[in-house]
């Protein structure tokens, strides 16, 4: 889908200090029966966020519900975030809730690709750097985190960390490209590939 690009984002953060947050936790299965891309934000982290199935009673102990973290747009997490199911509903729900950037130690492969395809910026930092970000937010929940994609830098107060992102992912996020449209411009090449297949491999 065609989307607008992102470059610099500044916002406060929710510190989800946990490893191996799987996509079943991000958005449980009962919300996957919808046929649209929107409206998943209210179900984000459903099991942890609500004490009841009908989402009437927020869990006061869950970090997303803390008063000081309302309005945050950056999610801090640990290793292997987004593991498990390939459901793209996971980045859809994070985006719909209002997150623009997820900063963690590592991400599961499919989830990472899904983020790129939804203009949600996944930033990977070393474990010690994450410690410092978590500390900064623990000291001041309203601390503003700036992520500069062009410069590949995360800045919080005096702290500044560089991060790696593959060239193609950076370009796609910066420009908000229509990935399918780009590929369809290569139609002649795809056809040529198909024509070169041996007959038994042709569908």
């Amino acid at each position: 889908m065609t989307t607008t690009g992102i470059n610099i984002h500044t916002g406060s953060a929710v510190p989800l200090n946990q490893a191996n947050v799987d996509t079943d936790q991000i958005i449980p299965k009962q919300f996957l029966t919808a046929v649209t891309r929107s409206g998943y934000g209210k179900h984000l982290f459903h099991d942890w966020r609500y004490l009841d199935q009908h989402e009437q009673v927020p869990n006061p102990d869950f970090v997303l519900n803390k008063a000081q973290h309302q309005g945050a747009s950056v999610l801090l997490t640990r290793e292997n975030f987004g593991c498990g199911s390939s459901r793209e509903h996971a980045p859809w729900s994070l985006d719909d809730y209002g997150f623009k950037v997820v900063i963690g130690t590592s991400f599961a492969d499919i989830f990472y690709d899904n983020c790129i395809n939804n203009q949600l910026l996944p930033v990977q930092l070393a474990s010690e750097q994450m410690d410092q970000l978590f500390d900064a937010v623990a000291n001041d929940a309203s601390v503003q985190i700036t992520v500069n994609l062009q410069q590949q830098k995360v800045t919080v107060g005096e702290l500044s960390f560089s991060f790696y992102i593959a060239e193609q992912h950076k370009t796609n996020l910066l420009k908000g490209l229509d990935a399918i449209g780009q590929t369809l411009e290569l139609d002649a090449k795809i056809t040529e590939f198909e024509n070169n297949l041996p007959e038994w491999q042709r569908a």
């Binding site: 996957l32 590592s106 399918i180 290569l186």
Partner: protein, 470 residues
Amino acid sequence: MATTLYDKIWQAHIVDAKKTSETGEEKLIYIDRHLIHEVTTPQAFAGLHEKGRKVRCPERTFATMDHSISTRSLALDACGPTNKLQLQTLADNCEKHGIELFPVGHQKQGIVHVMGPEIGLIQPGMTVVCGDSHTATHGAFGALAFGIGTSQVEHVLASQTLKQSKAKSMKVQVNGSLPIGITAKDIILAIIGKIGHAGATGHVIEYCGAAISALSMEERMTVCNMSIEAGAKAGLIAPDQTTFDYLEGREYAPKGDHWTQAMAYWASLESDKDASFDTIIQLNAADITPQVTWGTNPGQVIGVNQPVPAPSDFSDPIDKDSANKALKYMDLEPGQKLADLSVNNVFIGSCTNGRIEDMRAAAAIAKQGKVAKGVTAIVVPGSVSVKQQAEAEQLDKIFIEAGFEWRLPGCSMCLGMNDDVLKQGDRCASTSNRNFEGRQGRGARTHLVSPAMAAAAALAGHFADVRDYQ
């Protein structure tokens, strides 16, 4: 230069390798087979329709209904109107674009990763994708198969290609032969236990070694299926005579001269002897015992006779914290014996263990007793074909006689998108692939095991060592 099986399949599918700032290290690769189901496709088709785009190769695309369907009724609305709308949307999209669909009630319907291979849709050397992380299953045929998101489903529908960067390679060699009572499920759980839940992130695994070569196709699918549970992009096993024997004569497999040509190509699909891998892992089959997960990710796994670990057993602070959280959620104490742990639910099925050999393994235990009082045990065959074969062998009668429920094919309680959902506090011995918090129902506790171990737990009412039933 010596190349791996992954290298060979990758190289054979590059459509465009031009390097620009927009493509970086990515290549455009051709996709031979696209499997689709109701959950991860509606938004992809909607995206196509919005742009006025067509499905490029409907003949390379196959659809089934599996995730959102009832296992008690063939009615599309048996699990409510939203499930029905999703199923109907798939049917409408398939009709509009000329895609072959195996709907509920169809002879070829089943879990996408069970029915695809059994009709011969998956062949060595292919690239296979599906909007489902367990697409790794199909690597059992020496196909490069991986799960994708819905935006990528739309990309494949529109172009029959995907933009991909090459993953790293990992060789997992399982030496020797399996002891009696040890299954493919135990192999893959032991591997994940060894390398960790994210141990293969960014890698394509090739499984090899004597213990892997000795596996049937069904068993190989169980191993490859859970590659994603180690974080791997895909899992591969080089095709051999076992693979060719399985494929020959299947409906969508090549026939006649095409079969001969295919065989000539397939025989070339193996890693060169001196091919190098980024990572190499070795296991001895003889060391593998019946595996049971104790935690909330598949890497938190032990042998049935090992004590539940303590957080202090882990040196890494993150692992320690994860163990703490898992013990709390699972309501377990360090040092506890699994044999003392009661279960009140048993689930036998899923794309991991819903095939005919799994039904046979579970039935062989089930016929030795009755389901314990207070235990609900369901058996859900992976496809219509598995169900019919099991019934032809009267396995359904064994299960029913022992007190198991015999259901209709689907994903069922593996993820509970239908009404096969556990309740708060339920404890389940499950042959599925994920023991995440809430996976089978909010507040429910899942322990992953092999089909035989699940059946043994059903009879005993607690975890039991299946080797005592041999």
